[in-house]
Structure formats: structure tokens, C-alpha cells
Amino acid sequence: MAKRSFAILAVLVVLATMVAACKPAPKALKVAILAPLSGDVATFGASTRDGALLAIEEWNAKGGVLGRQIEAVVEDSQCEAEPAASAANKVINQDQVKFIIGEVCSKASIPVSEIATANKVVQISPTSTNPKVTIDEAGNAKPTVFRACFIDPFQGTVAATFALNKLGAKTAAVLLDQGNDYVRGLAEFFRDAFEAGGGKVVVWETYTAGDTDFTAILTKVKDANPDILYLPDYYSTVNVIAAQANQMGIKAIKLGGDGWDSPKLDQAALAGGFFTNHYSSEDTRPVVQDFVKRYQAKYGSVPDALAALAYDAANILFMAIQQAGTDDPVKVAQAMEKGTFSVVSGDITFDNQHNPKKCAVLLEVSPDKVSYKDTVCP
């Protein structure tokens, strides 16, 4: 028995080494899409993948980039730091990818950006809004990491100003997931802007990802009776908190960030709330309506902000490769720093921290629809 197992093991070892040894020769231009296709925020991943794949399909129909067809390597990174890091390692080391579109969530993008920087791979995140995605601890831009969206200081300020001026709020409660860079960043910037504008944050409570029982901290919110309940988390958690808050009779207006943008948002529970977002499909500019039409023709649904930004991110990347004239990641990154890219969400240039300058929109949630409310530009 033992001898036979040894023999089988030995054969397996040999086979594995052989399989590992033969690498496919790179012909097509490989681009990795890291998106959370499962888990907490699966609709984000699906939209992101669809948006990026639409862009890739259009470029391939036009003859590809630098005359090479584009091949997408889609990996499920689950919006979690660990799976995202191992997926990034896998696409870089195993698939020899030099360009990464993703991740969606800041907490997953940050570890990916460290890996991308170490391996000199271009990463462009469509929707990670935390500042630390593109800058390192010392405050310098990571040379090959970019994003296609605005950042949290801006988003948090927009939400705080809106609460103070348009809603006339004096007090706010903030509930945040302490293990999520996106949520934490947004909450902190909201607090700073809100208090700078004369408001007062009366409740600041943390929870852990995966918690389902929020009654204990919502009791504190209820005790403080704030005007605003700021919930900068993703839709799946916000749905739960909102339902439990209603169940406890909390009357505060709910406010949130772009993490709410999902068809699965519980609009009944969040009715009367507002959130900041990147784009609205009700935008009348022709480039937007054109994109909405094409996306709808392919996938049969109205694109949300994640799809639009993924489409933009892919387009920016391919334009930069085209402009650089090579697939050398460092040169592509330099082209990205210099160029201006005209995409769905406007004409984009990157500042010295690799962030584009963009406007934010405010959307209002009502039980049956999400409607456009306001646009705020920096």
C-alpha cells in the first residue's frame, strides 16, 4: 500500500513539474480583469467585468491594440484582500500578464497595487476610491498604479456639504467596517468635512465584515438621535443595517457613497436616502447615451457606474498602450501620466497622484427608483 502510494506520488510530482515547466508563448496582449464575481458585492464584479469586456470586444473588432488582439484573463478576487493578492500573484507569475484592470474594492486594490508596483505591472482600478490605492506610505505616487474614478476625500466632502447645506443637518452618526479601507477612508473624510462645516458626529461605531446583528450599535445611534445616518459601506451591508435601523424606529436620513450603486440595493428600506456616485445613466451627453445604448444591446440592462468606469478604465489603458507604441508597462505608465483621454465620464487627465479630476453626482433613493439629484464638481 505504502509503496504504491509512493509511486503514485512520484508520478504526480513529475507530471506537475512538466506542466509547470511549459509556458504558453505570449502572442495576444493579455489583460487581467480582477473583479469580485462572488461574495459580498457580486453585482460590482459582474458590472465591472461586463464593462471591461465590452471595451475589449470593441477594440478587438477594430483590429486590436498595436495590431495584437486583446485576450482577457478574468479572475474572481472576491473584494477581499487575500484572494485578490493571490489572484494578482497568479496572473502576474503564471499568466505573464502586464496589465491589470481592477480591483473594484479599495481594500483589495491596495494589496494588489503593492504587488503590481513590485512587479512593475500597470494596474488601473476602475472604482477604488481610497487615496492609498495610488500613493504609498510616504505619499508618493506608485509609478504604475492608476485609477479611473474620483477619490474619497472628494466624495466624503461632497456628502458632508450636501448634508450640511441641502439637508440642514446638525448631527450625524457614522457606522463603519473597520476592516475595509474604502469604508474607513470615506467615513473619516466625511467626519472631517462634516465637523469642519459646523456639524457634529455624535456616534462613531465600528463593526466587522460579516456581522449580521447590528442592533447593539444601532441602539446607540437611536440614543443619540442624529439627523444623518452615514453608511459608507457596500449595498449588501447597507441593506441589512437600514432594515434593522427601520426596525428600531430610527428616523435619521440615510446617506452613503458609491458602494450603494447596485440593482440589489434594498430601495424600500433606504427610501429617502441619498448617495454620491460617479455617473448617472440619465446623463444626456451623447457619449454617455451612446455607451448606454451599446451596453444595453449587449447585456440587456442599464449600465451602472461600475460598468461605465470599467469601460473607461479599459479604454484609457488601451489608448495609453497605443500612444506608447509598446507593451512595456513602464512606458505605458508614462504615456498615461502625460496623455488626455476622452472617455464616457469626460476628458481625463491624471494628476501627480495618478487620480483623474472628475465630478460627482448625487442620487436620491425612492422605493421604486434611483433618480438624479445634483452634480458637484471639484
Partner: protein
């Protein structure tokens, strides 16, 4: 010869050792002081705002009652086959998902209205909700029996570790099979409740309800007291009546709902607080259904043939077999009971916190297991008391110490209880096996 001298010297040194009782006393004082400090911190925070404190107690009860339903399954299964059934938390998860599908796909919670359109909506809601829970209980009972039949029974003669690993395997299988895209998917799903949730506050609690509930509890308690006195005098019939399920139902149901509503009704009137205490109807329904299921369980275990067979098998399997008890059947029945309780727990948990996920069973399952251990594994009242304790401790620590540390507090409590009283609150001291 020199060896003996050495041995004697060692003996001498052993005799010179001093009594360690002083040190033990010192350490006991230190531990007691640490405990008092924790209580003081929590107590002071609680006293600062009594309204919030009572609200947290209610939240804790809500959680504790759900844990109780799961913990009972752990404790019964452990009592009879000495197996930590790690897959029990996943049965709970399946229960929640079954109810999700019956509600969202089959609209089972509205069947009375579909059959008799003119029905009283409250009655329809009650019947619909009960049907949903029964469907989940039935499915989970079947699942648990299947699990027992195909995974645990073939291993019963083998070392216990094999069964434990199998339990872990079954648990992983249910979790990840449930996570497949065509089964439950691995997304968080917002749960549609089988009934409308509304909020009760102090003005909405009719004193009549309070009277009825407390009356139920009081009458049951008085009758119990009388029976106890009679029983102590040797009246056999009184002894038999003491454990009547109706008495227990009256005491538990009346008592817990009465406490919950009285807290809501009384606190704003006695304590000057701006805080408006509330309970949702979901909370009361959870308490009510848990108590009803508990009483039914007690009835089954105490009075029915199968219950007696369960107790006998838990006590001594070979002898019960000699007495003509079909032990395999009894074990399967235990698993079915445990599974159905977990299924009901799943529905109630999903109703209370309205989110389901294929890994949702892990942490509640573990906490319920902890509750069963704290209460004394193998003991049914122990599981109940342990679950309420864990629920309360968890919510109070989230409310007054630190929300992210709630799991750490719950498991620290487990370790402390194990160190002080390893057999748990209601457990019997383990017999010395030689």
C-alpha cells in the same frame, strides 16, 4: 548506598515544601478583583443610561433565543453519540435558505390568502409564517437524518476522531456546495420576511397584554409551587404533574414575553430617559416560537416513548439495546429533532437580521456550541440558559465594551467557564473512567 541517600534527600526536600494554599488564595483574590473591575465598568456604563441598557438586554434576548434553538441540537446530539456535530450550524443555514426559497419562489407565506382571499390578514400571516417554519423544519430534519445515515452511522464503531473529521467534512461540503452558483450562490442575499415588521414602543403596549402574560406566568408558577410542596410530601401524582409541559409553557412564555414587554412599558415611566425603548414584533415572535418549540421538545423528551428511549440510550447504549431499544432509530430521531430545531432557528435568525449567506451558519453555530458547553453539554435546560447568557454577554459587550470584540468576549467567557467549571453550569461532573 549513595543512591538511597540521594533519594532520601529528595524526599526530605519534598517534605520541606510549604503549603501552597496561601498562593491559591492570592490568585483567587486577583481573579475576583479582575472580575469585579469588568462588572464595574459595564455596570457604570449601563447605569449611565438605563434605557439603553434595557434595550440592549432585549436585543440580547432576541439573539439568545435563536442560539438556544441551535444549542439544543448540539447538546442532544452530543449527549447521545458524544459527537461535536460541526455540521449543525450548516443545517441552520440550510433552514434559512429553504425558507428564503419557499417565500420568494413559492410565496408559501401567503398561501392562506391565496386559498381564502377574504381571510383575516393577521390569521393568514400567522398560518403562513408557521407553514414556512414547518417547511424549513421538515427539510432540515430530513437533511440531518440523511447526514446521520450516510456519514456518521457507518463510523460509529470507529475512533471518535473519524466521526469528528467526518462532521467537519460534512460541514465543509454543505457550506461550499451551498456556495455553488446554481445552489444558493455565494452572495449575500437580502431576506424577504414572511410578515410585515412593525415597531412596538411604550405607548403601544396595552396593559391588558401585560396582565395576561404575567397572569399566565404567575398562575403556572403558583401551580408549580403547590405541586412541588405536594410532591415533596410524597404525592406521586403531583410529582408527575410537576413537569407538565403546559406549566412550563405558561412560566416560560408568560415570563419572557412579560419581561420584554414590561421593560418596554415600565422603563420610560420609572426612569427619566429620553430614550424610547422599542421591540419589533419580530423579537416577540422569535421569543414566542422559541419557547413553544422548547416546551414541545421537553414534552417529547420527557413523556413520549421515543424521548424516554433517547434518555436511556444517552445514559447507556449497550444496556438500552439489551432492553429492546432500537438505538439506531433513536439516534436518527435525535438528529431529526436537532435538525428541525436548527431549521426553525435559521428561519428566525434570517427574519431577525434579514440577510442570508452560504457561510452564515459558522459563527452562530459555533456560538451556540459554546452556549451548549457553558450550560453543560448534554443538558437541555443548560443549553437554554447558556444560550441566553451568550446572547446577553455578546450584545452587552458589543454595546458597552467594543463591538468588534464581541466574538472574543464570547469565547473568553467560554474559556473562563471551562476553567472554573469544566462540566458547565448544569452539567454533571464527569465520572472517573478507569
Amino acid at each position: 548506598m549513595s543512591v538511597t541517600v540521594e533519594a532520601r534527600r529528595i524526599e526530605q526536600r519534598m517534605l520541606q515544601r510549604r503549603n501552597g494554599v496561601v498562593l491559591n488564595r492570592i490568585s483567587q483574590v486577583v481573579f475576583a478583583l479582575a472580575g469585579i473591575l469588568v462588572l464595574y465598568v459595564v455596570g457604570r456604563a449601563a447605569a449611565a443610561n438605563l434605557g439603553v441598557f434595557f434595550q440592549q438586554v432585549l436585543n440580547g434576548f432576541q439573539l439568545g433565543f435563536i442560539y438556544a434553538l441551535i444549542a439544543l441540537g448540539y447538546t442532544m446530539v452530543y449527549g447521545i453519540v458524544k459527537l461535536i456535530n460541526f455540521a449543525h450550524g450548516d443545517v441552520f443555514m440550510v433552514g434559512a435558505f429553504v425558507s428564503f426559497f419557499t417565500i420568494s419562489l413559492l410565496n408559501l407565506h401567503q398561501w392562506p390568502l391565496a386559498v381564502w382571499p377574504g381571510m383575516n390578514p393577521t390569521a393568514a400571516m400567522v398560518i403562513g409564517t408557521v407553514t414556512v417554519i414547518l417547511a424549513s423544519m421538515l427539510t432540515c430534519a430530513l437533511l440531518a437524518v440523511t447526514m446521520e445515515r450516510f456519514a456518521y452511522r457507518p463510523l460509529r464503531a470507529m475512533p471518535r476522531i473519524a466521526a469528528l473529521i467526518t462532521a467537519i467534512g460534512v460541514s465543509f461540503f454543505l457550506e461550499y456546495f451551498g456556495g455553488l452558483p446554481f445552489v444558493f450562490t455565494n452572495n449575500y442575499i437580502t431576506y424577504p420576511r414572511p410578515f410585515e415588521v412593525f415597531v412596538l414602543n411604550a405607548d403601544m403596549v396595552p396593559p391588558l397584554w401585560l396582565g395576561i402574560l404575567w397572569g399566565m406566568c404567575g398562575i403556572a408558577a403558583i401551580v408549580y409551587g403547590i405541586l412541588k410542596v405536594l410532591g415533596n410530601r410524597g404525592n406521586a401524582r403531583a410529582q408527575a404533574w410537576q413537569r407538565n409541559p403546559f406549566l412550563q409553557f405558561g412560566m416560560l412564555f408568560g415570563g419572557f414575553l412579560g419581561v420584554a414587554l414590561t421593560i418596554i412599558w415600565l422603563t420610560p415611566r420609572l426612569v427619566r430617559t429620553h430614550f424610547d425603548l422599542t421591540a419589533s414584533n419580530a423579537m416577540l415572535i422569535i421569543m414566542g416560537i422559541s419557547v413553544i418549540l422548547l416546551v414541545i421538545l421537553q414534552y417529547i423528551v420527557r413523556y413520549t416513548r421515543i424521548g424516554k428511549a433517547m434518555r436511556a440510550s444517552a445514559y447507556d447504549k449497550p444496556t438500552s439495546r439489551l432492553m429492546g431499544i432500537n438505538v439506531d432509530m433513536v439516534i436518527a430521531a435525535t438528529f431529526a429533532l436537532a435538525g428541525s430545531l436548527a431549521g426553525a432557528g435559521g428561519v428566525l435568525y434570517a427574519t431577525a437580521y434579514n440577510r442570508i449567506h452560504h457561510l452564515m451558519g459558522i459563527i452562530p453555530g459555533l456560538k451556540s456550541f459554546v452556549a451548549a458547553v457553558i450550560g453543560g453539554i448534554g443538558s437541555i435546560p443548560g443549553a437554554f440558559v447558556g444560550a441566553l447568557t451568550i446572547g446577553l454577554v455578546e450584545v452587552l459587550s458589543a454595546g458597552f465594551i467594543s463591538s468588534p470584540m464581541r466574538d472574543a468576549v464570547a469565547f473568553s467567557l467560554l474559556i473562563i467557564v471551562l476553567l472554573i467549571r469544566p462540566q458547565g453550569i448544569f452539567g454533571e461532573a464527569p465520572g472517573e473512567k478507569v
